[in-house]
């Protein structure tokens, strides 16, 4: 080996060390860049950092009931956090609507009439979504629901509608699989209400149970029935599981109590409408939810602490409102021009929003059918302390 070669190698090593020194000096400050378009936009366009606009939230906040304000609270935490992280000044525009269609239409018209409103988080319920959807569609206002699960709302029939939760076509099979596999049901009684939510869910549950060879007896009870005695007597004695996709949690609680009073003790399984910890308290019963247990998601614990610091109590049911607000705010920032978010921009950007991680513990992106990709339902058990424990 020649001396020149060795000297060259030495110089190369020294050079590499110096180059390494130069490269390394930039690693002193670590920066994590999320891959959402919003962050890229914020970096690309300094004007976007001061973006403003209103985002309407269609959710109840005036009643003071058990679940009142929960979604509004979560949406607010999401928006203030988003503003803090991105330097934006988006503002919440509350629209007080739960399941009253007339309220929904009035609220939607008000939001549409306000030119500063660029997008909507909500509506909360499927029935209101079906009513106000065409109004929003005509106004080219994108609306992202945190809880409307009726299957026929999706598929693009409502052009501006998106949701960050799975729909009932996922919920039905989830309930049926849980009943057949986890509860090992031999015979199932399916008690439903005569209205679209309950009927649709019951159909999906029955179809999946039938496919699995579990015999099903179907019964129908009206909404707000005071006495379920006759219905309970018609439930076969050998039915070891009763699936009750009731619309109202109070009905579920009354049915469960009367079932217990009658000396019958089959396993009870309810849909997401019974996921109301303050109202449905039958210990040992199971209910589904479109929201995972936020305490168990990677970012959930931190945000729950933040939520509790502001509002005191915590309900996992509102979590998707946080994600829905993130979607709308991201779309607004992505398309911000001259410091203003636009309705047209949000309309265009919402379908393309992607979040690799979310409070829901999953990637958030929408398919061509406007549904959350990979959306699923989760099962909870009612515990003696009144809480709901995730079981699947």
């Amino acid at each position: 080996m020649s001396a020149r070669l060795l000297a060259g190698a030495c110089l190369a090593l020294a050079g590499a060390a110096l180059v390494g020194t130069g490269c390394g000096s930039s690693s002193g400050g670590t920066a994590t860049v999320r891959t959402t378009g919003a962050d890229e936009a914020a970096v690309r366009d300094p004007a976007a950092a001061t973006c403003s606009g209103k985002i309407a939230v269609m959710a109840p906040y005036t009643e003071g009931g058990s679940t009142d304000s929960v979604q509004m609270n979560w949406a607010r935490v999401a928006l203030d956090t988003f503003n803090g992280e991105h330097g934006t000044s988006f503002q919440i525009e509350p629209v007080d609507v739960m399941d009253d269609v007339a309220d929904g239409i009035r609220g939607a018209r008000r939001a549409i009439a306000d030119p500063e409103v660029v997008g909507v988080v909500g509506p909360q319920t499927s029935v209101v979504t079906a009513a106000v959807g065409p109004l929003f569609d005509r106004a080219k206002m994108a609306y992202v629901s945190p809880s409307a699960t009726r299957t026929d709302l999706g598929g693009g029939s409502l052009t501006g509608f998106y949701r960050v939760v799975a729909n009932d076509s996922v919920q039905g099979p989830t309930l049926a699989r849980f009943t057949a596999d986890q509860l090992a049901a031999k015979k199932v009684a399916l008690v439903q209400n005569p209205e679209p939510y309950s009927r649709g869910l019951a159909d999906a549950v029955a179809a999946e149970l039938d496919r699995r060879g579990v015999p099903v007896t179907r019964l129908t009870v009206p909404l707000r029935q005071a006495d379920y005695g006759g219905t309970i007597r018609r439930i076969p004695r050998d039915a070891d599981v009763v699936v009750m996709p009731f619309l109202l949690s109070q009905d579920g609680q009354r049915f469960a109590r009367q079932m217990e009073d009658s000396g019958r003790d089959p396993q009870l399984v309810g849909g997401d409408a019974l996921f109301v910890p303050t109202e449905f308290t039958k210990v040992g019963a199971y209910v589904s939810s479109y929201s995972p247990d936020l305490r168990k998601t990677p970012s959930g614990a931190n945000i729950i602490r933040l939520y509790e610091a502001i509002f005191g109590d915590f309900s996992t049911f509102g979590g998707p409102a946080y994600t829905a607000m993130e979607v709308v705010a991201t779309a607004a920032l992505e398309t911000c021009r001259d410091g203003r978010a636009t309705r047209a921009g949000v309309w265009t950007a919402v379908p393309a929003v992607e979040m690799e991680d979310s409070l829901l513990g999953q990637r958030v992106a929408f398919g061509d059918d406007h549904e959350l990709e990979g959306g699923r339902f989760f099962m909870y058990r009612v515990e003696p302390n009144g809480g709901y424990r995730a079981v699947g």
């Binding site: 190698a9 005036t62 607010r76 919440i92 602490r305």
Partner: protein, 219 residues
């Protein structure tokens, strides 16, 4: 031209060679030279990382202080605005307009804006109090979020400081290991045997290689 050839192939008995080949001396020179550079760079990098660690420890402490101040401020503001609002409403309901005006004047700007927004809402769409999430003028959530972010920033800075400090300590260990390179290289000059020299130079080079790899990994 090699050293052995220059001396006409004069070999000592039993494989001993009083004059090491030139490539061996050059190798030793390169190894010691590079070792010196690596020692310098390692010491510099260790010092830089140590500095970063100290800086991040300081920033972390500052962020914790900021978070505590913000949290206390948020708590104080929240308690104060609620108390003032209750007094204000009570004064209004009793028709004590002067007292109500006095209480109103004691509220800070954000509380006044929150109350004004609340008053402007139609009765059917008015939250139970002005201090609800639906009120866009209610500023307490943003203050609490700022405090929480400051605390998270402190945690990140503390984590980074620990990482930097650990790296700095590891680099100091590498600097200590480099002395082995120098020791072995220096010892090679003591031996007459060419094989012994080659062995020591190889060992010195190996030690240097290990140190180089470790330094790159810890950069």
């Amino acid at each position: 031209m090699s050293a052995a050839k220059h001396h006409g192939g004069h070999h000592a008995p039993h494989g001993h060679d009083e004059h090491a080949p030139r490539w061996l001396n050059l190798s030793l020179a390169v190894i010691l030279g590079v070792a010196a550079i690596v020692a310098g760079v390692t010491a510099w990098r260790g010092t830089v990382l140590n500095g970063h660690a100290v800086e991040n420890f300081t920033l972390s402490t500052q962020s914790v202080n900021d978070a505590n101040s913000l949290a206390q401020e948020a708590e104080r503001a929240s308690t104060s605005e609620r108390a003032l609002y209750v007094d204000y409403e009570e004064a209004l309901q009793r028709g004590e307009s002067r007292r109500a005006a006095a209480i109103y004047s004691m509220m800070d700007g954000s509380t006044r804006r929150a109350i004004e927004w609340w008053r402007e809402q139609p009765p059917g769409e008015r939250p139970l109090t002005p201090f609800k999430s639906a009120n866009p003028e209610w500023a307490a959530p943003a203050t609490i979020i700022d405090a929480r972010e400051s605390l998270e920033r402190a945690s990140t800075q503390l984590e980074q400081a620990n990482v930097d400090l650990n790296k700095s300590h590891s680099l100091e260990f590498i600097a200590a290991l480099l002395t082995v390179t120098f020791l072995l290289g220096g010892l090679s000059g003591v031996f007459q045997s060419q094989r012994a020299k080659a062995t020591l130079v190889t060992a010195s080079g190996t030690a240097l290689g290990v140190c180089l790899i470790a330094m790159v990994m810890l950069w």
